[in-house]
């Protein structure tokens, strides 16, 4: 009977495509928007994956990785003195202006690494040697910075090793190109030594943005972070703690999550509305046939099962199409990296569950109608 139920639905082409289309659109809206949201959230924490430190020590009022409140240089030594800390190095991070060959100013995400260890270096060098950051006025740029619309502006070609540009009227010579994860602000990463970064940055009383630390082998990272906080009064995060704190900050202080959440909820509501209405109208149009089946001995349970089966099958097909379109979108934007896109297997399953809930709700309207249906309806003219 379930196969026949499916043929009943597939035979009504208009309704079938309306249902599949509605569910595909709903799935697309939910999964695509969530993936873009995830991508954006991932951008907010890209510092952590680009610098890969185990413990991040910041000023006590800092809540997230993109925020910096300068500390005293002596704080590095205070952190180094905490038991369980293997080593700790200073880090500068700040948004500076760079002047390109055509005289235009471009914003950059400046990262100053401890020149002795270069701890916090980018994960992958494409060209050049990171050790050359120890040379005066040298910088390593990421692939985003190379682009003609960024630091390569006016060059007529992408920026490459050996090229020179200016940061705050100081020369910056490119000694390497690295691969980084894009930052939320969209500015290209420019790495230099810590001391060099201080030179590039406008002078202030305190310049130390962060301290990156590593626990001694065998020590628990979270415990060492706790010790640092207890003994220095600074704030110390492990990677998961800082990631959570950053995302929490974005949730609490920007409208981004609400805006995406609204779209995702709308996707769900549109799915329920379109599918509920279409499926109900399919049931109404087939009421006499369903009445005939009921008269012939189909129980309410069997008819409910048939309707649920029909709804679930179109749900799976619609979801498949929606997730396919989302994947296509993801592949299309993967090259440019914009808008950010980060698919999440758990959310794919959650969306599937949401679509199946939509289908169950849609079927429920029909099931209620059929349950109340008197089989004697088929004898009325």
């Amino acid at each position: 009977m379930f196969l026949l139920a499916l043929k009943m639905l597939l035979g009504d082409r208009a309704k079938y495509w309306m249902l599949v289309g509605g569910l595909a659109f709903s799935s697309l809206l939910m999964t695509q928007q969530y993936s873009v949201f995830q991508g954006l959230m991932s951008w907010t924490t890209s510092h952590m994956r680009n610098m890969r430190a185990s413990i991040w020590v910041v000023e006590s009022r800092v809540e997230q990785v993109n925020e910096s409140k300068a500390m005293r240089d002596t704080d590095v030594n205070r952190v180094r003195s905490v038991e369980g800390v293997d080593f700790a190095v200073p880090l500068f991070q700040g948004v500076l202006k760079a002047r390109t060959a055509d005289g235009s100013d471009k914003m950059i995400q400046m990262i100053g690494l401890h020149s002795g260890t270069l701890y916090g270096r980018p994960p992958r060098m494409i060209e050049g040697d990171i050790a050359q950051l120890r040379l005066p006025n040298s910088v390593v740029i990421d692939t985003l910075a190379m682009e003609g619309t960024r630091l390569g502006s006016g060059m007529g070609r992408p920026l490459r090793v050996g090229d020179v540009f200016e940061i705050n009227d100081r020369e910056a010579r490119v000694v390497g190109i690295c691969q980084t994860e894009r930052h939320f602000f969209g500015y290209p990463y420019v790495f230099s030594s810590y001391d060099q970064a201080l030179q590039y940055s406008p002078r202030q009383r305190k310049m130390l943005s962060m301290i990156l630390a590593e626990p001694k082998p065998g020590w628990d990272t979270a415990e060492v972070a706790q010790r640092i906080m207890r003994e220095t009064g600074l704030r110390a995060f492990t990677v998961p703690q800082l990631e959570a704190s950053t995302i929490r900050w974005v949730w609490n202080n920007t409208g981004i999550p609400i805006s995406f959440l609204t779209t995702i909820v709308l996707g769900f509501v549109v799915g329920v509305a379109v599918c509920g209405q279409t499926f109900y109208s399919f049931v109404l149009e087939n009421l006499r046939n369903l009445g005939a089946l009921k008269a012939m001995g189909a129980s309410n349970g069997l008819l409910a099962g048939m309707l649920l089966f029909q709804a679930m099958i179109v749900g799976l097909i619609g979801f498949g199409m929606g997730i396919g379109l989302t994947a296509l979108f993801g592949l299309t934007v993967a090259q440019s990296g914009q808008p950010p896109f980060k698919a999440d297997a758990a959310f794919v399953f959650q969306s599937l569950a949401a679509v199946l809930v939509i289908c169950a709700l849609a079927a429920l309207f029909g099931i209620r109608r059929v349950a109340k249906l008197e089989p004697a309806i088929v004898f009325r003219g």
Binding site: R288, G297, F379
Partner: protein, 264 residues
């Protein structure tokens, strides 16, 4: 729960005067059926204590003017509508004593339906439509389709098993409906105006099929109709008026009733 009809109701149920031979082995019996629709000003009493009997091997017509309660009585007899009062017995089973799911199971096993508008599912092929009662009774798809194809052959539609109902004429669709009604060998076949949507010749062909079906051992065919052209096929005719069966014609009385109806 099944109770032999005779044992629960040893006296004749028929209040209406029976003219001719009394029913032999009783297939369908109903006593004092009352059915009310609506409430307040909209309250309509469709059946006002109707009694009815039909025998095995009988093609029994229920006739009467529009609004007299024929279809309501048929629905109650078929177990598709519950009565407010009265008792229905089918082949020894007291239908009114069964739960709703038991009635559904009973219908599924023992009753075949033929509807005025055929009610074939338009998106299913003929063989799939005919196999529905077998599938509802738990048959496998392959077996069901083989039996359905055989039934289609018996009603003259061999070779058209994979066609859709919309590709057939009205008469052919009604043949499919007959094949569907008989495919699971039901004991009772309920027909609602089976010829009203058909031309005279097709109507007669359909009645030939139903008449043959009624002769199967242990079977009874009940037909509600307005169509006097088919009265000649009846073994017995119950006439309804104002929610009651007022006359039952059989034997010689049946011939004179048919004659008088055809003359008028």
């Amino acid at each position: 729960m099944t109770t032999p009809f005779r044992s629960v109701n040893p006296v004749s149920l028929t209040a209406a005067p029976v003219v001719g031979n009394p029913p032999s082995s009783l297939a369908v019996g109903a006593r004092g059926i009352v059915k009310v629709f609506g409430v307040g000003d909209a309250r309509t009493q469709a059946l006002k204590g109707a009694d009815f009997e039909a025998s095995e091997g009988e093609l029994h017509l229920i006739v009467g003017p529009s609004g007299c309660g024929k279809t309501t009585l048929l629905s109650v007899l078929a177990g598709t509508l519950s009565s407010d009062q009265g008792e229905v017995n089918l082949f020894g089973t007291r239908l009114t004593g069964l739960s709703s799911s038991e009635v559904t199971r009973f219908r599924c096993r023992h009753i075949g339906f033929i509807f005025q508008q055929f009610n074939l599912i338009p998106t299913l092929s003929l063989v799939e439509n005919v196999s529905v009662p077998l599938l509802l009774n738990g048959a496998g798809r392959r077996d069901a389709e083989a039996k359905a194809a055989e039934r289609l052959r018996q009603v003259g539609l061999a070779g058209r098993e994979r066609q859709l109902p919309t590709q057939l004429s009205g008469g052919q669709q009604q043949r499919v409906a007959i094949a569907r009604a008989l495919v699971h060998e039901p004991r009772l076949v309920i027909c609602d105006e089976p010829t009203s949507a058909l031309d005279s010749m097709t109507g007669h062909q359909i009645m030939e099929l139903l008449s043959t079906a009624a002769k199967a051992p242990g079977r009874c065919v009940l037909i509600v109709t307005h169509d006097p052209r088919i009265y000649g096929y009846a073994d017995r005719i119950s006439v309804m008026e104002d929610g009651r069966v007022t006359h039952v014609h059989a034997g010689a009385s049946l011939s004179s009733y048919i004659h008088s109806e055809n003359r008028s």
